[in-house]
Amino acid sequence: MTVISEFIGKSARENVQSAILKARESEDFNAILSYSEERALERADKVDSGEITGRLAGVPFIAKDNFLTLGAPTTASSNFLKDFQAPLQATAIEKLEAEGAICIAKANLDAFAHGGSTENSAYGPTKNAYNKEHVAGGSSGGSAVVVALGIVPFALGTDTGGSIRQPASFNNVVGIKPTYGTVSRYGVVAMASSTDTIGVLTSSVEDAETVMGILSGKDTKDMTTLPDFFTPQTLDSPKKIGLIKEFMDEGVDPEVKAATERYVEVLKQKGHVVEEVSMSLLKYALAIYYIVVPAEISSNLGRYDGIRYGNRAEASSLGEVYGLSRDHGFMPENKRRIMIGSYVLSSGFFDAYYLQAQKARTLLVNEFNALFENYDALIGPVAPTPAFKLGENTSDPVKMYLADIMTVPASLAGLPAISVPAGLSEAGLPIGVQLIGARKSDSLLMAIAKEVQ
């Protein structure tokens, strides 16, 4: 893997060329959908001539293909946006470019970020960086793999229910899902607006701090953004950390539990206090998530109608244009989520599903808040198992959803949560540990992780 400092002060053109070369040599992982080589080299030359400067001058990175960027299509890994050339760039991309960073390519994802394995991509699955027979995780699977393979020092991802943390854990990289509202989502393909966040995947926590420091802050184009609160820190006193009991029960892979326990031991050796805590609402978190999120998806994806942009199906009536464009443009998982959303929002079912879920969400938030009165952070695994085999869960959507069971709780409550490497299984597959904090405690979580890495 590579770190940002290796690219600073070097020829930007050579940085870009060598990263693209490395990416092309790794195409069998199917982590990359397109390159923005021409634009990247133009920008590199401007860095080399001194016209572009900044903290990341000449550092190449890769964006998940649901960020609007210039110089390459933005497909969201869907057929609907197969040839879509964005007329503008996401605020996150603009902020990185303002510091001299160079986007060289777009990474594969589950179409519209719906999934936990990158197998729902219209352009084929991404393979795990440690074993090509296993999934990369998802939905930011491509972003995790390009960092794990050392192609770029950082990649952008989005995390709505675990889509940065879970692929980070499956590929042995650091994954940051910030407090809801930390980073502007303007110019990023919307999934579920009440939990969508933007974050970064890196090989070191320090690099994640650097990138989050640049991305954070208020943007008038995204009214949910918070004033910038992110400042990297180091710990000046021992912390009290709660080990989530429900994340360590008998359903969890023994090697995942053992890796988490080893991480907890290191924390204790560093002087931190780790105690077991219990959360009675966690068993409902996945059900809450798969009501609230499809409801928001069904609404957000209403915009894909084949009229203003994207692929339009040939049809003689307007109704057929909508219906066929959407049927052809969406993957099966997109359709499942849209239809579940329509189901839980439809008259007669609204109170029993959607309203009940949002009330249950309040109880979950309250349970987190109560714990953060006594604990600085919570810890547990990122996922119940290491990366599963390609195709293993594709025939059973509920089984696939269960891979999100440990990541959705923090998303529903808008809390920061990070995934950090915690070793390999006997079969050589990475395992990640998750740190969850109170709102705006992002830098504290990273400070704890820095002590252990």
Binding site: I291, S317, I338, M339, S342, Q356, D396
Partner: protein, 96 residues
């Protein structure tokens, strides 16, 4: 457990503006039934008197000036994205 029929699937598809291929209906029916079977466990949770949480920002009423901002994109840029456009307007099949 809630049963989902093929008619239910077609109704949901209609609500979702999805013109499904016949071959998709049965597999979607099974999947939706399994998903609903999972999420309906939430009914066992007592939420009497609990207020719903629709957002987690703590922000309220974020205002901006009522001023036109084109975000740096021209009308022509946007029209160029449309599958069909004519005379500065997006062209669609006959509505009525």
């Amino acid at each position: 457990m809630t049963q989902i029929s093929t008619d239910d699937v077609q109704h949901l598809a209609q609500l979702s503006s999805l013109q499904l291929d016949e071959g998709e209906v049965e597999s979607l029916r099974t999947d939706l039934e399994n998903i609903v079977g999972y999420i309906e466990q939430l009914s066992e949770l007592d939420t009497t008197g609990v207020e719903p949480t629709y957002q987690v920002t703590d922000l309220q009423n974020v205002w901006r000036d009522d001023a036109v901002d084109d975000y740096g994109i021209s009308k022509d840029d946007l029209l160029a994205l449309a599958p069909a456009a004519e005379a500065h307007q997006i062209k669609v099949p006959k509505v009525l």
